[in-house]
């Protein structure tokens, strides 16, 4: 797979997708965005989702729940369900030191959470593995 923009375009092709972004969770920087933001500003959404992702990625309760040998990040994804939508945050594992995730915002009526999770996992892998 090509770069960030193509990855976000594919994310927007997931049924029910309303907005997608690639975000650095240490700094809160949006590396790329597509579609809409729930608050009309992708940069605000990036900073807010980054705080959420950082907590999940760093708290021991999620990270140290057993010694399962794996190459992937300890936390794979986060799901936030709201009245009107779903947010799926998928951590992207790179082979250099980084802290990025894919965020996909879905419409609650037209989105399919199970499908979105699978597609996002696939996209996160292809973004860095080609």
């Amino acid at each position: 797979m090509p770069g960030i923009d193509e990855c976000l375009l594919e994310a927007m092709a997931v049924p029910g997708a309303r907005g997608a972004s690639l975000v650095d969770w240490t700094s809160g920087l949006a590396l790329g965005t597509a579609g809409d933001s729930p608050v009309g500003d992708h940069e605000t959404t990036a900073a807010e989702t980054a705080e959420l992702a950082r907590s999940a990625a760093e708290f021991d309760s999620f990270v140290a729940e057993g010694d399962i040998p794996s190459d992937g990040p300890p936390v794979e994804d986060l799901i936030v369900t709201t009245r009107a939508g779903y947010h799926v945050i998928r951590f992207v594992e790179t082979s250099f030191d980084s802290s990025v995730f894919l965020h996909l915002w879905l419409d609650r009526d037209t989105g399919n959470l199970a499908l979105a999770r699978i597609r996002l996992r696939d996209l996160a892998e292809r973004l860095v593995l080609g």
Partner: protein, 262 residues
């Protein structure tokens, strides 16, 4: 998207408006523009793409050197890394964008020195994913505000990082643990960034977060400024960062006495 109220560099705003191509040289770094958009940035304060990629072993140093030798003259090192199969597009973009915003943060830091623009000068790394000058300015301002929102004491940014013992039950995430483990009492945040192969701003931010949590010493402010500027927000309870040498023994006795009465 909101416009930057007070631009960090009026010259950058002007160059973006005239869609200039060249290098903007400032005291703490250089921004490279193509058609008014930022394509590269470097700063002595920020690890370059080479450090970020080679430190973790993603790319062997020889692989980087070969790319620079073969594609540097054509200003296409980034492209070469992908075309020769050493990196994937997504990795290159993630790493390079991170490095550009990182270096830009330091290059655009407040300075009294001259700002110059050399028209037509390009960078040998080549263009990967141009970003608008406005986005770079906005992000730089956001980063400054974020640092001060976390812990408004800039002295920790340049001082050697000195870890402090954790309070009972206090935990630290894996990335910050790695940072603390590398902090030997002499390395500054910039040294640690280079050692760990992380962007320098990320390291500054983590050090400020650790200082706010009381896990890293906050050195005292050097001299009271003649113009104090904005009043810092009230400090969290129990944090006493400006006290150079708190009497730990006294505090422990006090705590023990209080606990004895629970």
């Amino acid at each position: 998207m909101t416009a930057v109220a007070t631009p960090v560099s009026p010259m950058l705003v002007r160059l973006a408006a005239e869609r200039a191509t060249g290098a903007l040289l400032r005291d703490h770094g250089t921004l490279y523009l193509v058609d008014g958009r930022v394509v590269h940035a470097e700063s002595p304060a920020a690890p370059g793409v080479d450090v970020l990629l080679t430190t973790g072993g993603r790319l062997p140093r020889e692989g980087w050197d070969e790319a620079v030798d073969r594609a540097g003259a054509h200003r296409a090192v980034g492209r070469f890394l992908v075309d020769s199969g050493r990196l994937h597009d997504g990795e290159l973009e993630i790493c390079h964008l991170g490095a550009v915003f990182d270096a830009a943060f330091f290059a655009l830091s407040p300075t009294s020195g001259p700002t110059r623009f050399r028209y037509g000068v390009g960078h040998w790394f080549g263009t990967v994913r141009p970003v608008s000058a406005e986005a770079v300015e906005r992000e730089t301002v956001r980063r400054r505000e974020l640092l001060d929102a976390v812990w408004p004491y800039a002295t920790v940014d340049s001082a050697p990082v000195v870890p402090r013992p954790a309070a009972p039950g206090q935990t630290v995430g894996a990335r910050q643990r790695a940072l603390l483990a590398a902090a030997d009492g002499e390395r500054t945040p910039a040294d640690l960034a280079r050692l760990l192969g992380r962007p320098a701003f990320h390291t500054l931010l983590d050090v400020r977060r650790l200082a706010a949590a009381g896990l890293v010493e906050t050195p005292p402010e050097p001299d009271p400024q003649p113009d104090p500027g904005p009043v810092p927000p009230p400090q969290p309870l129990l944090a006493a960062p400006q006290v150079a040498d708190p009497d730990i023994a006294l505090l422990r006795r006090l705590r023990d006495a209080l606990e004895a009465h629970l």
